[in-house]
């Protein structure tokens, strides 16, 4: 009798276990499937147009076969470098201020509120704002203005993740540093920030990946350029911009290039994120969590 009860209880438990596992697996598939589908479709549409010229040639005039997107790949690199140089330091500094120095002050609430609002500002609005602040006074489109627009868009994500990650650093770790006679600022830079670095880097990567695909803020700042350019005060091409222009064009040739460009954009984002993760994780030790 007792044996039977035990057995039926066990069967029920096992069944529940399978049910829970099944639900989890299903959820995972639902999340991963669209991503894989996008990748597969991009490869299907874009891979055939990828060749060496795509990376080493600038666009050819309409009607001529060939040409590539070197200008856009280089341009995206320049824009994202400028954006990171602006967005990451400012974002981290603001996050440090929020977490370490201004927990309850009026200014910190203002900063937090601004960051949240900034996060919600549509990217096209960001483009117009930078257009009227930089492009109009200078009277020309430029890589610099595009980088500024993207950089400002990075700030809120970097700020909020930095703040959250710093707040996760245990009080005991800060006390340990202070107890060693380390000045407060030094402890913040070398201990607290360092302890939180993995999370902060993830935040920066998120912000980077997000703006890497932005088109709207570049429409009237970086503007686009059919030639390769490294100059900050000249219009510059960017992959998302070029994809946009090619995709809405009436030419089949350009459509194919747009697909290839999308594929390259995704891969460049994946590669740069993985690279940063790899480089920074080498410094972090095993067993540290």
């Amino acid at each position: 009798m007792q044996q039977r009860i035990q057995q039926s209880g066990q069967a029920w438990r096992r069944w529940k276990n399978h049910l829970a596992t099944g639900t989890a697996v299903l959820g995972t598939l639902v999340v991963v499937a669209p991503l894989l589908a996008i990748f597969a479709y991009l490869i299907y549409k874009g891979a055939s147009s990828l060749n060496w010229a795509f990376f080493t040639k600038v666009p050819k005039p309409v009607g001529e076969i060939g040409g590539g997107m070197e200008n856009a790949i280089v341009g995206s690199g320049v824009l994202l470098t400028v954006a990171s140089l602006i967005g990451i330091p400012i974002g981290i500094a603001a996050g440090v201020y929020l977490a370490e120095f201004g927990r309850k002050r009026l200014l910190s609430n203002l900063v937090r509120f601004t960051a949240d609002v900034l996060n919600g500002v549509p990217s096209i609005v960001m483009g117009i704002a930078v257009y009227s602040l930089i492009v109009v006074p200078q009277q020309h489109f430029s890589a610099f203005s595009g980088g500024v627009a993207l950089g400002i868009m990075m700030i809120p994500t970097v700020t909020r993740t930095t703040e959250e990650m710093l707040l996760l650093v245990p009080h005991a770790v800060r006390e340990a540093a202070l107890g060693l006679g380390v000045p407060n600022w030094r402890s913040t830079v070398s201990i607290t920030l360092r302890t939180a670095s993995a999370g902060i880097i993830t935040g920066c990567m998120l912000a980077f990946a997000r703006v890497a695909g932005e088109t709207a803020p570049l429409l009237f700042t970086a503007f686009g350029n059919d030639d390769k350019s490294l100059a900050l005060n000249q219009p510059i091409a960017a992959l998302p911009l070029q994809i946009f222009v090619y995709a809405v064009s009436p030419y089949n040739d350009w459509h194919r290039l747009a697909w290839a460009g999308s594929l390259v954009l995704i891969f460049l984002i994946v590669i740069s994120v993985s690279l940063v993760r790899y480089v920074t994780s080498r410094g972090v030790l095993k067993g540290a969590s």
Binding site: E175, G181, S190, R194, T195, L285
Partner: protein
Amino acid sequence: MGVGIEVKDLNAWYGSTHTLRDIHLNIPANHATALIGPSGCGKSTFVRCLNRMHETNPIARVTGTVKIGDLDIYNDVSPVVIRRRIGMVFQRPNPFPTMSIYDNVASGLRLNGFRNRQALDEIVERSLRRAALWDEVKDDLRRKSGASISGGQQQRLCIARALAVDPEVLLMDEPASALDPISTAKIEDLIFHLKSEYTIVIVTHNMQQAARVAEKTGFFLNGQLVEFDATTKIFTNPSDKRTEDYITGRFG
């Protein structure tokens, strides 16, 4: 070499709560002094006043004088300087989790601008040996993180980290209360050896521990120092009724 500590009229507050009242006490150099008393009586607050950690809490306040040797720590120097001369070991081991064992021990010196690598290597080894941890970690110094070793090893690592900046005084706030008996015995053994070179103040919940390691013992109750005397006297023949009640377990 350790130095003595002279405490006069020490009062401490958290906000408006008066936590320590009129503490007078002379802690002898190169001995271990134990502080005992029920939870919440102010032992931690007291030791944190000795290296000015108390004031790192924004709501905390302190008055009175504390002298380390001839140095009046609240008037003559900055808190940062005094904390280098008075090391602290906390109740829960708190190694820097993203640093290697080596970097943990070297951290106090490095963060204060010390760069001589060879000297650093020597100091790290010497400190780990003094903390009786060298043999257990010498092969993984740079490979393992400070957080990846056992709790008892972490606490000895924290002791090595404190010793590396060459303090004169070592404050230990219940250093073994989170540890198993074997690790506890190692820490006690360590205190026993270290006290010839440092002045040690150890807060403990465990009266046998106080009796084993300390020459002098102070009994705190409700923010006051009830009695301070030779350890043997406190445990065999206390002069205050409240001390007797506490050590005999009759305390309500």
